[in-house]
């Protein structure tokens, strides 16, 4: 009964979304005043109603999971009566159909947020923005109802479910997809504002000021979601890798890069009224890349460890939806953009030009990632063969593109609006620059050996870190209140510096030992030693595991007992590794249990890692998230 109600709520939600998508927008075109107002006023209540209906539908699916209703096909495929309750809830988005419902729910959340927090916006803007969001909702809801219904019944009902993929049975699954989707879906708000601006012909600084906080919040969620995914892969997959340039990962990175360009471009449009067409195009691109990501992940066009079970029929639907949404918005852009006014004067060297360079670099980097991701597809489609494009390519091409982008972060924030002098900037930064060079040249030797990559990475990290600190100190010396957006900017930029150092450190100085161990054997990565103290069997709610107790010492001082496990879930043939990790400020110690090497199971293969600066990777991302949050909360954005 409840699944049917959930299904019905979804149908109702589609109708409401259709009303939300069509009527307010029509209202903006009508000459009659009263109808004009009435139709436009429908936008807010419809958005709220749509949220209620989708939330009910989601609750129905969650109930099916939590009550072990295996007469629902989707529940039988992704859950199990032995699955712990939190994972039963998270399993709602463990598969394709449910994750789409999550997407639609979050879209309804964003729409409702826009409806509730837009008091200062003129009614016609609200109407247009919510209409666009409504139309997008219609598309996704129809996608679910026609090709991916999570409420389909399984008759006769299964006795028990197939269980959630063991890889997903982890706290990471509970928050990574919702955070990531909040980011992806949040880009639709920036998109809706851009389309609304194009439709109204009012593309100005006010539009930029309205758009900015929404875009920054979406960016913040996306940053957090990507960081969570990366951290999850790091501790869950057993060898401490954190980025694989997998198509699905690229699908999340591309909107992030463009969204970063967008929030910086919005700055210029808001402050100086410039780059309006470019900013609008970036907003369209960011959401288009979100939709493209949805297509790539669910259509079966690319192979990926993350991909959902593919179905060409679904692929066709998403592709058509993508074509309609992006095609129409780009057509609208081509039509309306030329009429846009240019904005204030700017010199060749000015904050505006630095920000434009930032945009260009980020867009080219996005293009490189896109090219690498779909190149095999293009070559295959042209019948010119089958090739693979993997991490060696991306690392070789992406890193050089990012170097100037990161470098320009510092002069860009120092340069004045409208007109700036390079000599002046250089003079201001002379000490930071010198310190960065000294650290870059000297630090590698202290850390374990010189390499070009280490030097470059340390230089960039130190340059941005010191340059940012310098600006904060300079500003603190001046009188006057400091707004949250200042803190947000600098904390986020500092976070980037920390991230760069983290990546450089772990890539250049990581040590791995792949060894065979009996009880009492020791492996050493100076100054740490790892001793296997015991092996035992443990039982979990839906798995059995072998757990190793590994004592970590620094010199003679015992630090911790790590407990890596090798789990055998009842539902899966593949054994799962749970790594034992000791995290410090400057490094992680990572131990992973392999396979038994003899019949008596007394000798096991183990991998032991010393990963310097890895915590800085996560720390840097968290700082960026904090920075984004602070920037969005700045008082000039509060309605």
């Amino acid at each position: 009964m409840i699944p049917e109600l959930g299904h019905f709520a979804l149908i109702l939600a589609t109708i409401v979304a259709l009303i939300q998508g069509v009527l307010p927008l029509t209202g903006t075109y009508l000459p009659s005043r009263s109808l004009h107002i009435t139709l436009q006023s429908l936008a807010r209540p419809m958005a709220i109603l749509q949220f209620v209906l989708v939330a009910l539908s989601f609750a129905a699916l969650a109930t099916a999971f939590l009550t072990n209703d295996f007469s629902v096909t989707y529940v039988a495929q992704h859950s199990n009566s032995l699955l712990p309750k939190p994972y039963q809830f998270a399993a709602v988005w463990g598969g394709h159909e449910g994750s789409l419902l999550l997407w639609v729910l979050l879209l309804a959340v964003w729409s409702m947020a826009v409806a509730l927090f837009s008091k200062s916006l003129p009614l016609d803007m609200v109407a247009r923005v919510l209409s666009v969001l409504g139309l997008i909702s219609v598309g996704f809801l129809l996608f679910i109802l026609t090709t991916s219904n999570p409420f389909e019944r399984l008759l006769p009902a299964a006795l028990d479910g197939r269980d959630l993929n063991p890889l997903l049975q982890d706290p990471g699954l509970v928050i990574h997809p919702p955070m990531l989707y909040m980011g992806y879906v949040g880009m639709s708000v920036a998109f809706a504002f851009a389309v609304a601006a194009l439709l109204s012909g009012r593309l100005d600084a006010a539009w930029a000021r309205w758009s900015r906080p929404w875009t920054v919040i979406a960016w913040t969620f996306l940053t957090f979601g990507i960081g969570l995914g990366s951290w999850w892969a790091y501790y869950e997959l057993g060898w401490g890798g954190w980025w694989f340039w997998d198509p699905v990962e690229n699908a999340s990175l591309m909107p992030w890069l463009v969204a970063t360009a967008l929030i910086h471009s919005l700055m210029v449009t808001e402050k100086r009224g410039s780059f309006k067409a470019w900013t609008v195009l970036l907003a369209i691109a960011a959401f288009s890349l979100s939709l493209l990501g949805t297509f790539l992940v669910r259509s079966g066009v690319l192979t990926s460890v993350h991909a959902f079970a593919s179905d060409p029929k679904r692929g066709v639907f998403v592709l058509m939806f993508l074509a309609v949404v992006v095609g129409s918005s780009l057509t609208l852009f081509a039509w309306r953009a030329p009429r846009v006014t240019l904005g204030g004067r700017m010199e060749l060297v000015s904050r505006e030009s630095f920000l434009l360079a930032n945009s260009v670099l980020l867009v080219v980097a996005t293009g490189a990632v896109l090219l690498g991701t779909i190149y095999p597809l293009i070559i295959d489609a042209l019948n010119m063969g089958k090739l693979s494009v993997g991490p060696p390519y991306f690392n070789a091409v992406f890193a050089p593109l990012l170097v100037p982008t990161v470098f320009l972060m510092v002069p860009g924030t120092i340069a004045r609006w409208r007109e700036a002098k390079v000599s002046e900037i250089a003079h201001t930064l002379r000490f930071s620059g010198l310190a960065a060079v000294v650290l870059a040249v000297g630090l590698p030797f202290v850390l374990g050996g010189w390499s070009f990559g280490a030097m470059l990475g340390i230089f960039l990290g130190a340059w941005v870190g010191l340059g940012t600190l310098q600006q904060v100190v300079t500003r603190l010396r001046k009188p006057g209140r400091i707004g949250l957006s200042f803190w947000g900017q600098n904390i986020a930029h500092f976070g980037m510096a920390v991230l760069v150092v983290g990546v450089t450190g772990v890539n250049s100085y990581e040590v791995e030992r792949d060894v065979r161990m009996h009880v009492n054997d020791v492996v050493t990565i100076a100054p740490y030693s790892f001793q296997l103290k015991s092996l035992g069997e443990v039982a979990g709610p839906n798995y059995k595991a072998v757990r190793a107790d590994v004592e970590v010492k620094r010199g003679d001082e015992a630090i911790k007992i790590l407990q890596p496990e090798k789990r055998r879930y009842f539902s899966s043939a593949m054994p799962m590794t749970e790594a034992g990790i000791d995290s410090g400020f400057m490094r992680d110690l990572y131990v992973s249990l392999g396979e038994p090497l003899d019949d008596a199971r007394t000798e096991w293969s183990m991998r032991v890692y010393y990963k310097p600066f890895v915590p800085w990777l996560w720390g840097g991302i968290l700082l960026m998230v904090l920075g984004g949050l602070l920037a969005a909360l700045d008082r000039r954005y509060r309605a």
């Binding site: 067409a277 195009l281 369209i284 691109a285 288009s288 297509f295 259509s299 079966g300 066009v301 690319l302 192979t303 060409p312 692929g315 066709v316 592709l319 993508l322 074509a323 992006v326 095609g327 780009l330 057509t331 852009f333 081509a334 953009a337 030329p338 779909i374 095999p376 597809l377 293009i378 295959d380 489609a381 063969g385 089958k386």
Partner: protein
């Protein structure tokens, strides 16, 4: 053309490629060995310790079929091969690929015992399901498979009188594939 249309045109091309991609299988790997000589090898067979090498098939058009008793899809294609072998006078040589899997208890035994066990299992399986092969060579460690670019079982090759690989199919052979592709190819080769 105005610059503002560039994004739209670019997007349009992208959609075309994605649409074409929907009809392609990204995991299917075409073989670079087509048109190249079949890699040489010398392996003992299922039937005897006398070795077999592809050289012995020069002058004939033949099929080389990679199989194993643990392979489910092989069971599906096997009746097709058996029927094909009976109807046509085209020799099929089998490659028993990694019959003893790593997780098999027999895997820890000596090579001689592994070979014996593999032969026994294969013989029993062929007796039960039919034997389309003129002979079956034993590739216990999969090395010959790698020489032939084998990445999954079953796989089937067509090799001509000069010992050149002319065709490769990955996956179970269907009657349709035999009738439409393989048979015409082999007959065409047979004439020349």
């Amino acid at each position: 053309m105005k610059k503002v249309f560039i994004p739209l045109v670019f997007f349009f091309c992208l959609v075309i490629f994605l649409a074409i991609g929907l009809n392609r299988d990204p995991r299917e790997i075409p073989s670079p060995l087509i048109g190249k000589p079949a890699p040489a090898f010398n392996l003992v067979t299922l039937e005897s310790d006398k070795t077999f090498s592809p050289e012995q098939m020069l002058g004939k058009v033949w099929m080389f079929n990679v199989w194993a008793t643990w392979c489910v899809a092989c069971r599906e294609e096997h009746p097709v091969l058996v029927a094909f072998a009976e109807k046509n006078q085209i020799p099929i040589v089998g490659l028993s690929y990694k019959e003893i899997q790593p997780q098999d208890p027999a895997a820890k035994q000596s090579d001689a015992i592994k070979l014996q066990v593999a032969r026994e299992r294969s013989a029993v399986w062929l007796q039960r399901h039919g034997n389309p092969y003129t002979t079956s060579v034993m590739d216990l460690d999969g090395r010959v498979g790698i020489q032939y670019g084998v990445y999954g079982v079953p796989e089937t090759y067509v090799i001509d009188q000069q010992g050149v690989i002319r065709f490769k199919h990955v996956g179970a052979v269907t009657p349709q594939l035999l009738a439409e592709k393989i048979l015409p190819l082999m007959q065409g080769l047979g004439k020349s």
